[in-house]
Each structure stands twice: as C-alpha cells, then as structure tokens.
Symmetry: D2
Subunit: 244 residues, 4 copies
C-alpha cells in the first residue's frame, strides 16, 4: 500500500524491562501499545524502534523512509548517539514529522531542534490531569471533546522553557496547582513537530483512547508535504525587469 503514511514509534524501552509494574501495563513496551493503536487506524504503516537495537533501530533506510517519527525517552537520553540525533534532526528539517511524547521533552533531538533547555517543573504524585482544548478548529483535536481527563499522571508545570509554539492546542490543569502547555506545534524548516505531554511510564496513559486519538491526529498533521525544493546558495537575478 504505497499511499500509506509510514510511522516509526521510537521508545527507549528500558522501564518496561526493569520494572515489573510497568511491564504489566505495557508487556511489549509503550511503543507496542502506541503502534497497535496506530496500525489499527488503517491508514498508517507502523513499525517500532528502540534504544537497544543497533543504531537504536534507526539505521539503514529506516529514517529516510519514515514519514513521521514518534519519540519517547526518559532515563537514557544521554545514551542516544549524537550521530543518530543529527540524522533525526536533519530528517525533520527535510520534512519528516516528529511527535515528541512526555519525558521526550528532554531528549537530545527535541532540545537541539528547540534551541532552549526544555526544562520544566515535575512531581510524581499520581494526581489528576485535565487537558483542555484551546484551539477547537485544529486538526489535532479532531473527534475529541472539550477536555480529556487522565485520573493519575505525573505533573509537569510551567515555566516550560520552549520557544513560543506556532500553535498552542492543549493546556493541562493539575490537581496540585499547576498548568502546562501540553500540546504544542512547531515548524522547523519543512518538518512539523508536535510536543504532547501525557505518558508517564507508571500509568496506563497509552491505553487512554483520547490520548491515543490525539497521537494519531498529530501523526497525520505532521505528515510530510511535497513542497518546493529549496535552493540555498549563490542565486541569479531576474534577467529583465519589465518596468525598467
């Protein structure tokens, strides 16, 4: 099916191996849960990749043939090789979509593409999160209600040190007193980036239908666009100006 958008779900994949409770939530890893949902959508061609595979599963023709890359990382950001990070960023600038999940805010590719620290406040208290839609006409919230409730999540709070998003689609409310820009769109050259907050490893967030729907919508929004080939460098003038 050549017309399907090719999606690669990348996951660090360590928590699920080291912690029995997390393994119970995600027996095949968070990437598998996300990939299963996306594959079942019918319009997406989905594969997965993880940190501990050779080249982190992103070697060969994987990146060149990926339309949208999803990224989850946390405890091992520093183990991601710079050469791979550079390739991911180059592919984004060349048009590949990137959906960065939760603790991926601190991943090397996201920080490099943002140019800021991407730091934030956090708290692990299993508290309630309510994500409010602030742009109801945006394709990323297609088919959703006005808000999504997640009963138990890690808190992320402002100040979130990112450049001002090109569009701010979701803002989270946390029971403990914080707010967070939870759905943020960025364009970086030809590539679209969506940062989406939820997804701490110790909660069943990637089994939540609203969360999964937003990820699927974001993947379609971030699909590469066959736009102009851009020329950079020494450029020739218009040979003749009509008004001259």
């Amino acid at each position: 099916m050549p017309d399907q958008l090719r999606v690669t779900v990348w996951n660090e994949g360590r928590h699920e191996k080291k912690n029995a409770q997390i393994a119970k939530l995600y027996p095949d890893g968070m990437h598998a849960a996300i990939a299963a949902y996306l594959q079942a959508c019918g319009d997406l061609d989905v594969r997965t990749a993880t940190l501990d595979e050779p080249d982190h599963g992103l070697g060969g023709d994987v990146l060149p043939t990926t339309g949208v890359l999803i990224w989850w990382g946390h405890m091992a950001h520093h183990e991601v090789k710079d050469a791979i990070v550079d390739k991911v960023c180059a592919r984004v600038l060349d048009g590949m979509g990137l959906v960065v999940l939760h603790s991926g805010h601190y991943s090397k590719p996201f920080r490099k593409l943002m140019g800021t620290s991407c730091s934030l406040k956090w708290r692990e208290a299993g508290e309630k999160e309510r994500l409010w839609v602030v742009e109801p006409g945006h394709p990323i919230v297609q088919g959703l209600g006005e808000y999504i409730d997640i009963p138990h999540e890690e808190m992320y709070g402002e100040r979130f040190d990112i450049p001002e998003p090109d569009a701010l689609v979701l803002i989270s409310w946390f029971a403990g007193g914080e707010v967070f820009r939870s759905g943020c769109c960025f364009r970086r050259n030809k590539g679209k980036i969506f940062y989406f907050r939820p997804g701490h490893e110790s909660y069943p967030t990637y089994h939540h239908q609203g969360v999964l729907k937003i990820i699927a919508n974001a993947v379609r929004w971030a699909a590469p666009v066959p736009g102009p080939d851009v020329f950079f460098g020494n450029f020739k003038p218009l040979e003749k100006l009509e008004t001259a």
Copy 2:
C-alpha cells in the same frame, strides 16, 4: 458523493459585465474560471454565487452547507448587505473556511474578522510580481516550486494593516520596489482564513496554473475540522479533587 468538500466561489461579478476586455478574459466571470479548476480537481463539490443574485447567492442553505467560501469583491463592497456579512462571519467562527482573494482584503467580512483597516498601498502598472514561498513545508504550497511569476499584475505593497498572521506562507516582490505578505493564514475560533493576494480583474491571473493550485491547496487546508463542541457560559467545577 457525500465525502466531497463543498466549496462556494463568491464573486462580485460586476467588472466582467461592464468591461469588454475583462469579459474577454473571463467570459463567465472570474468565479467561473476558479470554479472550473476546482471542480476538475475531483475531490471538491463546487458552486458559485454572485452579488446580484437574491441574498447575494448566499441565502437558504448555501452558507450552512458550504465547507469553504472563496471571496472576490472590489467595486461594490458597500453593496454587500450587513445581514449577509454577519452570517458569513458567524459561519467562519463556527468552522467554515474562508479564502479571501486580492481586493477582497477590503471586503466587509474580512475587515470584520480581522478587526483592523486592512488598508495597503497599490498601483496599477501591469508590473511583474514574483511570489516567494517562505514556508516550504506548509500544505498550501504543496506541489509548487520556490516561486511563482506573474508577468503583469496590480501592485499591493506594505504596510498591509492586518493582525500578525498565524502563518506567513508567501511574500510578493514587485518590479516597482514593493513587498507584500501575499499568503497569510489566520484562525478565528473554529474557522481558517487564507488571504491570497493575486487576481486583479484586468489580467488573466485566474488562468495561471500556480495561482489556481494555491487556491485549491488553500481550500483543502481551510476545510472544517469536526472538533469539540465548545460550551460557553456558566460551568460546573470538577466535583472531587483526587489530591484533596
């Protein structure tokens, strides 16, 4: 074909009747030229409407069943009835896309939705216009090259008094010394608006394949999104806060 996006091409339709040279370029009006191109795309269901029809051709179920409205007006902006303007603006806030062409910058619906004067500089000298793509990853420039040349056009120049666009996709260069933000995206509540500069009535601009392709891309980009139903008014609190 229930899945097709319904497009209404609105045109003042006066120049083509009053001026023989313009009638030669557009025997059935500019709206007919644009509609023919869009209809031939295959994925759009296109109709037209003009100022001199009852209710300007926008009465009954026309607006409620229109997904994207295209608007060209110039000499008779003041003849457009305020009641119709209010309906157009309400439909945009409710999700209908709006593509405003050329002198439509000064139309009542566009000015009302922008909240500014929408004034600009202009010159009728038939000079060369080159439209540069500044956002090559945007869906509106899909399938285009880095620029479009229009051999003869009316000049529009900055300062263009609009709110800062949510995305700036095209900037025009004119032989006489001006620049202009020619492709501007705005969201207003659930509706998407694209202002697109070219299209003076005395030039064959709406027979230009690049111009037509951008209009078609803009129509698809501005298609309504079935997002959340938004509630406004007195709202109840979360009944129980888990951390309490």
Copy 3:
C-alpha cells in the same frame, strides 16, 4: 510634566454604586483604586472616566491625548455608544495602548478589535486562582515572582474565543478544574492591546499588589511608539532600478 505617559482608566462604575458590599471594597470605584496605584508610580499621568459621564468621559480631547486606555465593563456593555466605540478602536489602530480587564473581554471595543466572539466559561464560586508566568522575559512580568495567588476570584475557563495572541504571558489555574489564557498580548496596527483576566467586582483584586504591578507594567509596554507615518493608497514606483 510633558514626558509622562498619559493613562485614562475607564470603568463602567455601576456595580460600586448599586451594591453596598462592592462599594465597601471600592468606595470611589475600581477605577479610583487602579488610578491611585498608577499615579503613585511616579512616571504616569493618570485620569479616570466612567460610563455615566457625558460621552462616557471620553469626549473632547480625552481620547486624542490618552496614551494608554484601561477598560473595565460588565453589566452595561450594550450602553456604550457605538460612536465612542469606533473612536476608541480608531485610536488603538493609530497607536493608543489598550489594557482590557476581566469582564471587559465582552466589551464592544475588545470584540470589535478581535473579530471573534470573545466568549468563555465562567463560575462565581470565590475559588482560588493561581496565575502562572509562562514568559519570564516579557516586560509585563517585570518584578514579579513565578506566580500570583488570588485567594478568591470568579473563574474564567477555556475555550476563550480570541485570535491566537502575539504573546501569551500568563495562564491561570482555578481550583475547580479550569485553565485560562489570562495575560494575552495583541498588536492591531500601531496599537498594543493587553487582555488581563483578574478583577471580579466582588473581590478586592484591585488592591492586590501583584495584580496592580502587572497592570502598571502592561501600561508601560502598551505605550505608543513614534513609528513611521504609514501611507495607504496609490503609490509611486522606484524611478530607476539600479540593476536594469
């Protein structure tokens, strides 16, 4: 003192006359409380105006000599004369700053300048509001901490139907479960507009030092800039193009 920025604090001024409890909080009206703080800053020349004065206190040379206008209205938006609204909006486009407070979101000038409904959710439950700074480098949050707590306020919740702000500086958290874009910057032609959420008439919000400091900062940020005189209309070309 010719160098001082001239500020006019406009208030509907009805609640304070009709309700004894509100009158106790603001014996001379909310405008007087705000004006007193601003005047004490030392760098501002402050006057007030209210709905029930002739021309709502904005006739003669008041608007032409006002650098920044602050606007609070609620129960009598519809009593503000359209001719005055038009003058206020014209002055904003010409460079006057506008700081819109609380229920002023639904005032005629703000809605006209935004082009949207400016609707929102609300609840009068005297609940806690915490305003988080999301742009710590913005001049409007100069001298503040990371957040401001207001013990009791009316709730405003998203979706707030405004165009995407040019800068989003503050987001509110409410105890009952909502978030709100509480500090929003807009430019409309030469004028700067700041919408600032807090200030329900039945709470002592305009005696809160953090709230008052933000209003003073916003006034200075919104001060008119002596920028270029902009020409709109028929414009002449560069006479000679050097490369020709």
Copy 4:
C-alpha cells in the same frame, strides 16, 4: 552610571584587516563604527570584542556583565570556540539580549539558538535594497520612515531557514527579484534575539543612519528584563485547595 545598559559589540574583525577597501570604509573595524554610534546615544555603555582576542574578547566578566551582545561574523564562524558559543547561548537563555547582524545568520550561537540551518540565498551584485517596515508600532522602528533604502548591498533571499519569528518587523526588497525577512524578533527563554540583515563588509552600511538607528532601537528592545526567577525540577503542590 550604573543605570546604563551595557552593550558589547562583537566582530570577527578579519575582513577589515585583510582587505584595503574594507579597511578604508571601516578603519577601526565595523564594531568600532557601530560602537561609536551607540556610545553617542548617551544611554548606552558600549565596549567591543573581537575574534582574535583571548577568549574572543568574551572571557572573564564580559559576558556576565553584558546586557545586550551584538554579533557580526562571516569567514571564520568555525574558529569560534564551542565553549564560548555555549556561554553565549546560556547567557541569552538567562536574559541577555542578542542582536545578530547580516552574515551572523550562519554563526554558531544563532544556529544553535534557532535549531535550524539558517541557510538562505545570496548574491554579491551591489544591488539596491529597500527595507520595508511591516510593523509600524514596534519599538524597533521608532523614529524611522516607512522604508530604508540602501543603494548597494549584498542580496539575501528567501527561503531563509529560521523558525517563524515571534514578530516580523522588516521585509527587504532587492532589485534583482528577491524578498527577505530582514528584521526578525525571537524570544528564547528570558533572552530576546533580533536578527537584522544589512551589513555586508564591502559597503558603508554601518555608516547609514537608518541602519544604525534600528540597531540602537533593537539594543534597547532586547535589554534584559528583571523577571521572575524560574524554578525547574521537583515541585511541591498547593497544600490546601480551597474548594475541597
């Protein structure tokens, strides 16, 4: 004078030493020409720094005591040490303003802060540039007319691979057929960044009064703001929710 804003003008400083014609235009280097203008403004405390000084002139307390840094580089971007680049970027995120001039678009600090390639088109043909003001209410164009003409400059043309600016203030027109986003504002954490296009070393651009005025305005706009101290990390909840 402790209240003066401290400005450091950084210049590569090589062209002026190697090329007699450039040395004639700028006997003490471009940095000296810019610094002399800024110092004469009266409200700025100006020093200079160049590549060939120890630590590129940015060691010791220079960066910590700089309020706004101006950056011009071209032929030796690669010679700027990464350790210094990291310090410059960290200072920007901490609130130092950064004004990047002309070929500084390709400097290490600017590219790192943008996260994109910052590539563009260029042509050395000594052609006419006209810079149009597109935001006449912005402080950076204070005291200017609607456009600035530079008789002879290097051409820079779109696509300019930068993130969408937070504000676009100036757009250039070039005689040979190009346009360019020439005055671009960005916020990156607490720091403000202004990219300003003009200033090829072989033309007397930094003796042009309009260009110098924009640089001075940009310096004042980019001045650090004493905003909130931001906490990042594990954060405590509100202890008691009033509505509970």
